[in-house]
């Protein structure tokens, strides 16, 4: 996240070395803030999630395995994860572009566009799903033109991708934007004055500085997409084995009073999401360490 990590990191390092013992006592509040954070995180998050894991662990291994490895469930993992991956990738490219355009260029209506980016968070997911299917059904505002080219969006896997792109859209934009705003012009100028072309400057100077933010945004968009339910069910068609997402199967299990089955699939998704986030946060920590 640091705009100029090379120099800063070294400064920090030296300052820290010489005054480490004194420093630790200067800034107060570690106990208070850490204590409160852990307490809150514990009550709101850790205890409930621990409860889910404990609940799942009370199943026998065979029951657990049967619940999570049924072909229908496996087909839904494939769809949920691949559609989320595609959606997050679309958001990575276009989100970075939108952030760039919003920070670097000026055009009429920029403020309005900036405000609209948060819309997918604000609109209840069900409303988003209804709006999207109104647009992309073969009789819809956009869908009728796509049908001419033989493209079907609603009630296909493409529809799932559209919905998952929509709900993850703000993440990449909003993580990249502040970093881009803070990027110091001096470095680009230095690169330019050393004779680098604009393309080289973007590739070698700007992109690496944005990498951590891009990764974070990507991870969050992906994670959010995997769990999404409300908007997808309206546009996907929900055909088992073809357009059925994993969260829908969890709902179906719960609906049949099969809480253990629902919890088992939920646990699989939970662990996958946590590993993914850990991987991305670790990657970010590693890139920062390397002093990009």
């Amino acid at each position: 996240m640091d705009a100029n990590p090379d120099a800063n990191a070294r400064d920090h390092f030296e300052v820290n070395m010489s005054t480490a013992t004194r420093k630790r006592r200067v800034i107060p509040g570690f106990g208070l803030t850490m204590g409160f954070s852990l307490l809150y995180l514990g009550f709101i998050f850790l205890i409930p999630v621990g409860g889910l894991l404990l609940y799942t662990s009370m199943m026998s291994w065979e029951d657990f395995w049967r619940a999570v490895s049924h072909p229908q469930v496996v087909a839904s993992y494939k769809l949920s994860f691949s559609a989320s991956l595609i959606g997050a990738s679309i958001n990575l490219v276009f989100g970075a572009l939108v952030a760039w355009v919003l920070v670097r260029y000026s055009f009429p209506g920029k403020k309005v566009v900036d405000a609209l980016v948060d819309l997918p968070f604000a609109l209840p997911t069900a409303v988003a799903g209804i709006a999207l299917v109104t647009l992309y059904a073969s009789t819809g505002w956009v869908g009728q033109y796509l049908t001419i080219f033989g493209i079907k969006v609603a009630y296909t896997q493409l529809g799932v991708v559209v919905a998952l792109t929509y709900i993850g859209l703000p993440f990449v934009v909003r993580t990249v934007q502040p970093v881009l705003e803070d990027l110091e012009a001096e470095r680009e100028e230095a690169s330019a004055s050393l004779g680098a072309s604009r393309f080289t400057t973007v590739r070698r100077v700007i992109l690496p500085s944005l990498l951590p933010a891009l990764l974070t945004g990507y991870a969050l968009a992906f994670a959010r997409a995997v769990g999404e339910y409300g908007s997808v069910v309206f546009i996907s068609g929900n055909m088992p084995y073809r357009t059925e997402i994993t969260p829908l199967l969890i709902v179906a299990k719960a609906e049949q009073y099969d809480y253990p089955g629902a919890a088992a699939i939920g646990t699989v998704m939970l662990i996958a999401a946590f590993l993914l986030l850990l991987l991305i946060n670790g990657l970010q920590w590693w890139t920062q360490r390397r002093g990009l």
């Binding site: 055909m239 084995y241 709902v251």
Partner: protein, 338 residues
């Protein structure tokens, strides 16, 4: 600044709390499924009036609507329902199986299998019936697309499925294999499986998907008369199932809250002539034969079979067809291998 903020917050909270307090002698909570909203809005007003005249107490009936299964689940998990009015006996029976909230004999406590009103499954087609759909047989034709919700998540859709199955059994002299093949072919014609009944209605009506929509009679009427006037027609098949949406008092809850008397009266009054007319006006078939005759033009006489007679009751039907590894799962699996 801080004081202003505090005062505003306190003020806002006070209004919020005051706003949610209800002024009635008795509060009842009726946990129901989606398509009964209109019915109970009318009925609750009628019952309040009746109870006020009868006892002088004012009753406020609060409503909760959702998918039948998830509503039953909420009651099992602690939603404080005084009465439940759900789509199928299986969901009501879950209150006993999973939480012991009602006694075993719950369904015999009220007349007519505790179903004050009934319905059946009919076929909704587009104006002029362009695909010339007459009966269940037309639903397995190659050129017909069928809309029905997912029986795994929608109680209403289980009636649809069983109606088709029952018809096929009857046509083939009780041959289960042939019935399986019939329903399999029917589901091969289904392009979209909405999780809930009302979502499926919207798919058929709003999105224009499908040629025929399998629906409860009351839902079909609602679509014909309110959603798209003149755009749809109802086709009554030769044979269908008697859909019995049962009601019951939730014993554990009413005993704790001390509302048993009024809750029982609330359900009993559903059988009164006034309530039967309300049900009929909302397109449910009244159980009172006299009232049914009044509305005879609305409800076509059709050969109806009962789930108990053909499928051996809900529990067996659920086990054989809809539970994991049941016949519906096997149909889905075979359809993907095409």
């Amino acid at each position: 600044m801080k004081n202003i903020l505090k005062n505003t917050l306190a003020g806002a909270l006070a209004t919020l709390i005051a706003g949610s307090a209800l002024a009635a002698d008795i509060n009842l909570l009726n946990v129901s499924y989606d398509p009964t909203r209109e019915l109970y809005r009318e009925y609750n007003a009628a019952f309040s009036k009746y109870w006020q005249a009868e006892t002088g107490q004012s009753v406020n009936v609060r409503q909760s609507h959702g998918g039948s299964g998830s509503q039953a689940r909420a009651v099992i998990d602690g939603l404080d329902a005084d009465v439940v009015t759900l789509a199928l006996a299986y969901d009501v029976d879950a209150l006993r199986q999973h939480a012991d909230l009602i006694p075993e004999n719950w369904q015999s406590r009220l007349a007519n299998n505790s179903s004050p009103y009934t319905s059946t499954i009919v076929l909704l087609v587009r104006k002029g019936n362009p695909k010339n759909i007459k009966d269940w047989d037309d639903l397995v034709r190659d050129d017909v697309e069928v809309i029905t919700p997912n029986p795994k998540t929608s109680g209403g859709a289980r009636w649809n499925y069983l109606a088709a199955w029952g018809y096929a059994l009857k046509q083939n002299g009780g041959d289960e294999e042939k019935a399986y093949e019939f329903v399999r072919k029917l589901f091969a014609n289904v392009p979209v499986l909405d999780p809930g009944a009302r979502g499926a209605t919207n798919t058929f009506v709003q999105r224009g998907l499908g040629d025929v929509f399998i629906a409860w009679e009351n839902e079909a009427y609602l679509s014909v008369e309110q959603l798209g006037k003149g755009e749809f027609e109802i086709v009554v098949p030769s044979v269908s199932i008697l859909a019995e949406p049962p009601v019951t008092v939730v014993d554990k809850n009413v005993d704790r809250k001390g509302t048993r008397e009024v809750a029982e009266a609330y359900l009993q009054y559903l059988y009164s002539e006034e309530a039967q007319r309300i049900a009929a006006r909302n397109y449910y078939r009244p159980s009172n034969p006299e009232i049914a005759r009044e509305f005879a033009d609305k409800f076509v006489d059709v050969e109806l079979f009962r789930i108990d007679d053909v499928f051996g009751g809900w529990e067996k039907a659920q086990n054989d067809h809809f539970n994991d590894g049941g016949k519906f799962d096997s149909i889905l699996e075979s359809l993907t291998k095409r």
